[in-house]
Amino acid sequence: MQDLGIRVLFMGNNFMRLLGGLWVTIQLSLISILLSVIFGILLGIVMTLKNPVTKCITRIYLEFIRIMPQLVLLFLVYFGATKAFGINLSGETSAVIVFTLWGTAEMGDLVRGALISIPKHQYESGAALGMENAQIYRYIIIPQTLRRLIPLSINLATRMIKTTSLIVMIGVVEVLKVGQQIIEANRYTVPDSALWIYVTIFFLYFLVCWPFSVLAGKLEKKWKN
């Protein structure tokens, strides 16, 4: 029986439907990643300010977002916003809001870390060469910051893609949901389809995330020191 179960993938457009479901996840993650990078860079810069008020606010934001499971945040926005503000947010919108809030916090912390990790004498030796402030940033600080930041950001992106799988819990029709539908539809014809569908989804996620992990690892090694 088991060797036959795999045929469920090739029946009709089942496989394409799974890919379509995966695409929903990827789209939502990509939007969230993009927004997180933009807001995260801003947040990171704000976090390096010595202002006690911004320090306190960003700190609380960061700690709260990071300590809560992402699924709790999803619930807060998806169920909470609807109830509290009477607005009916779709699962997709809630997902983008939550993953952007979370991604921004993580990204902000990475940016802050990368910025403060540049030793002071790097600024000084730039100045010693007679460089302008803008030149010091352009040629010395930003390139070094990016080298630290890019591998970590890629890792964050894979984490965000993996975490986006949670949207099935707030009713978004994504790859797991499509998988369930296919399993339901073939309940009698292919009784063990569940195994094949979930194995496929497992490897689909792997194929999406793994290249990013490899890339991040390579860049990290290459840019060490």
């Binding site: 619930f75 949670l166 819990m169 793994w210």
Partner: protein, 241 residues
């Protein structure tokens, strides 16, 4: 439908009793025990999963440290698979997929196996980077005063590796406890399940969510504080060159 209406009337009647802050205290006291039970479940399964993750991780890291042939490849593949797939999908596979192969596990077993499968690779990476951080010459230095291999590991390499690993291990513990929030997909009545249930049944969204957040804060805040204290102590305490 009857249920829904009953819930609605229940909701309306409780609404009248609402305090000035708009939160229904009676509801909270009534249903708090459910959260306590759910939190206990989360903590119990989380603790078992984390403990097993530590064991798997330590073994995995040792296999890589000693470069044991074949096993080392298997561990490398496992780490990649585990780190590049979501726990949610791993749990679906364990709970709904494996029974079709004749492997039927209870919800709790699935949750523990899933958490261990995920956590093992994270712990392995933490231990591995700790072991790698100890300079090779420390090993030779130990040998040169006559310690044998296992004594060098026990007195010199492990203590240093472990203290370097602690921040990453703590981060993993917090990460894994947060990950337990998906346990409801394998039909476990965890915190998320209880919250969703209360929202669905009584439409008590604010109260249900508030208790949810508080429950996770009660679980995670102490761990996070202990972790940062531990990290600070290790950083400023006696050693580290």
């Amino acid at each position: 439908m009857e249920n829904k209406r009953e819930a609605d009337s229940h909701f309306l009647c409780l609404k009248n009793k609402k305090g000035s802050n708009g939160v229904d205290i009676d509801f909270i006291t009534q249903y708090a025990p459910m959260y306590v039970e759910a939190a206990k479940l989360t903590l119990r399964l989380g603790a078992i999963g984390i403990l097993l993750s530590l064991i798997v991780g330590l073994l995995g890291a040792l296999v890589q440290y000693y470069k044991i042939p074949v096993l080392r490849r298997i561990i490398a593949v496992y780490i990649e698979l585990s780190r590049n797939t979501p726990l949610l999908v791993q749990l679906f596979l364990l709970y709904f997929g494996l029974p079709k192969m004749g492997i039927v596990w209870t919800s709790e077993t699935c949750a523990i196996v899933g958490l261990t499968f995920l956590g093992g690779s994270y712990m392995a990476e933490a231990f591995r980077s700790g072991l790698e951080s100890v300079d090779k010459i420390q090993f030779e230095s130990g040998l040169s005063i006559g310690l044998n291999h296992s004594q060098v590991m026990r007195y010199i390499i492990f203590p240093q590796a472990l203290s370097t690993s602690v921040p990453a291990l703590c981060a993993n513990v917090i990460f894994l406890i947060k990950e337990t929030s998906v346990f409801s997909v394998v039909a476990l009545a965890d915190l998320m399940y209880v919250a969703k249930d209360l929202i669905g049944l009584y439409y008590k969204t604010e109260e249900a969510l508030l208790m949810l957040v508080v429950a996770y804060l009660i679980i995670l805040l102490p761990i996070s504080i202990i972790a940062s204290l531990l990290e600070r102590r290790l950083r400023y305490a006696g050693f580290g060159n």
